[in-house]
């Protein structure tokens, strides 16, 4: 099976002598659903950041989608990011843009025509049950609704990989259910690889998944 992410002796840190992840070896298969758990400050989010190039490995090697992340050029990184969907705990929506335009962002970046991207956005807003909010701005929506918008945005360009950092951290039950359903749907129907960083694995998950746990900078496979 193809590997989407391969880490060999991967070390991550923000400061020179302070390793957050040290000499990690793991791989993630294409089309799999993966949970990465760990205590607060264990380095889960840092690891996720390294997958989309927001942090560069200090040592070892990391390959994402066949691209070596160690000394990646800006153009290559941009190219890779155009094939990844990211869901952040703090949503990271553009406040000055409407919900519709926020969802359209990855399609604008990838250069899709207005017709194609418009149709895709309508479909996704329907999936996240926010079609009636399309013309509103993020501050006008609740946290749960904003996260659903972020989820729709992450799916908009049919990415090969979706990275989600605590996607349901502060959400109500309904919004959480919508998010998990969408992630499961993308994984089972579109064979999108899903990597979710979370404190606890939700009980609603019905698809088979792989579980990595981070403790004291070490990553080990739980199941």
């Amino acid at each position: 099976m193809d590997k989407v992410i391969i880490a060999e002796n991967l070390s991550l840190s923000y400061k020179e002598f302070e390793s957050i992840i040290s000499k990690a070896n793991f791989s993630i298969d294409a089309g799999s659903f993966v949970f990465i758990t760990g205590a607060s400050g264990s380095g889960k989010s840092t690891l996720l950041k390294s997958f989309y190039g927001a942090i560069t490995p200090r040592a070892g090697s990391l390959m994402v989608g066949g691209v070596k992340m160690n000394k990646i050029s800006t153009s290559k990184l941009n190219f890779l990011r155009r094939h990844i969907g990211v869901v952040f705990q703090d949503y990271k929506l553009i406040k000055e843009w409407t919900i519709e335009k926020n969802v359209m962002l990855p399609l604008i970046i990838s250069g899709y025509t207005k017709d194609v991207s418009g149709a895709q956005v309508q479909k996704l807003l329907g999936h996240v049950k926010l079609i009636h909010q399309a013309g509103k701005y993020p501050p006008e929506l609740s946290g749960g609704e904003q996260q659903r918008v972020a989820m729709a945005r992450a799916l908009a360009h049919n990415p090969i990989l979706i990275l989600a950092d605590e996607p349901t951290g502060n959400l109500d039950e309904y919004s959480s259910q919508v998010i998990w359903n969408l992630l499961e749907g993308a994984n089972s129907q579109l064979k999108t690889t899903i990597v979710v960083v979370t404190h606890h694995i939700p009980s609603e998950i019905t698809v088979p998944y792989k579980h990595f746990h981070i403790e004291l900078g070490n990553i080990h496979e739980v199941s």
Partner: protein, 270 residues
């Protein structure tokens, strides 16, 4: 409101740069017009023992545009009653020839000096009067004024460029969230910064329009024309086609260059 304030700051700064440049251009035009006036009024007097043709004078120095002989008949006619015809004829024969030399441009004081020396090398020329001193003072004052305006314009351009740079940093700060989110989804630099460039271009166009309006008002009131006419100069302070296009290009150039400086200098934020 805040956004409007930011726009006005950049428009005012760009307008100041354009106004400084236009004032320099206007001063340059004024001095050029004054030089033409000086050139038309200015001539050198040459006294010689023999007759010279205009071609001969031109051959002596290429600064000479044309020459004309100064008629002595009027002076001699005045002496007719006081002198005998014999003496008058003798005087006519011994009287030197006077010429007025017109130059093809107004010379610098050193050029006048060189021209005088070159003319005096000819043994037949006994005297050359340049009247350089009289013209020199006014001309030097005007050149000094031009230099002062130039320094002043450069200083204004430098200070306002710094202000624009600061303003754009503020813009960038305001748009940094959006730019960093776009970066997370792989937007190239030009797409992330498109809004900054769009704002800069719009403000450059507005600043140029304001400049055109300002010079239109100055032109309508005509007080500059009156001032210039007192020193015998008539110039076009602002040519709406040439100066307008040049100002637009300068405004766009400054705005885009400074936006690029900000964008390139900015490290991608996480």
């Amino acid at each position: 409101m805040k956004s409007l304030k930011n726009h006005i700051s950049l428009i005012v700064a760009l307008f100041t740069v354009l106004f400084a440049v236009q004032i320099y251009v206007a001063v340059d035009r004024t001095i050029a017009a004054y030089e033409t006036r000086l050139k038309n009024d200015y001539s050198i007097i040459v006294v010689s023992n023999k007759t010279f043709t205009p071609v001969e004078f031109k051959a002596m120095d290429n600064l000479v545009e044309r020459s004309e002989a100064i008629a002595t008949d009027q002076v001699l006619n005045r002496l007719q009653g006081e002198m005998t015809k014999q003496n008058l004829d003798l005087l006519k024969l011994t009287l030197p020839k006077f010429y007025r030399l017109y130059l093809n441009r107004f010379p610098t004081p050193s050029e006048i000096g060189k021209l005088q020396k070159r003319l005096q090398k000819n043994p037949a020329i006994v005297r050359v009067e340049g009247y350089a001193q009289t013209h020199d003072t006014v001309y030097k004052l005007m050149l000094l004024f031009k230099d002062v305006v130039q320094v002043f314009s450069i200083a204004i351009a430098a200070v306002t460029s710094l202000l624009i740079l600061k303003e754009m940093r503020l813009w960038q700060f305001q748009h940094s969230d959006r730019m960093s989110i776009m970066a997370l989804f792989g937007a190239p630099m030009w797409l992330r910064s498109a809004v900054l460039f769009r704002l800069a271009i719009v403000d450059a166009i507005i600043a140029t329009i304001v400049l055109c309006l300002a010079f239109f008002v100055i032109d309508q009131y005509g007080w500059m024309d009156v001032l210039l006419q007192t020193v015998g100069i008539k110039i076009q302070l602002f040519n709406f086609l040439n100066d307008g296009v040049r100002s637009l290009l300068i405004a766009l150039g400054v705005a885009i260059a400074l936006t690029l400086t900000i964008v390139i200098g900015n490290e991608e934020e996480e």
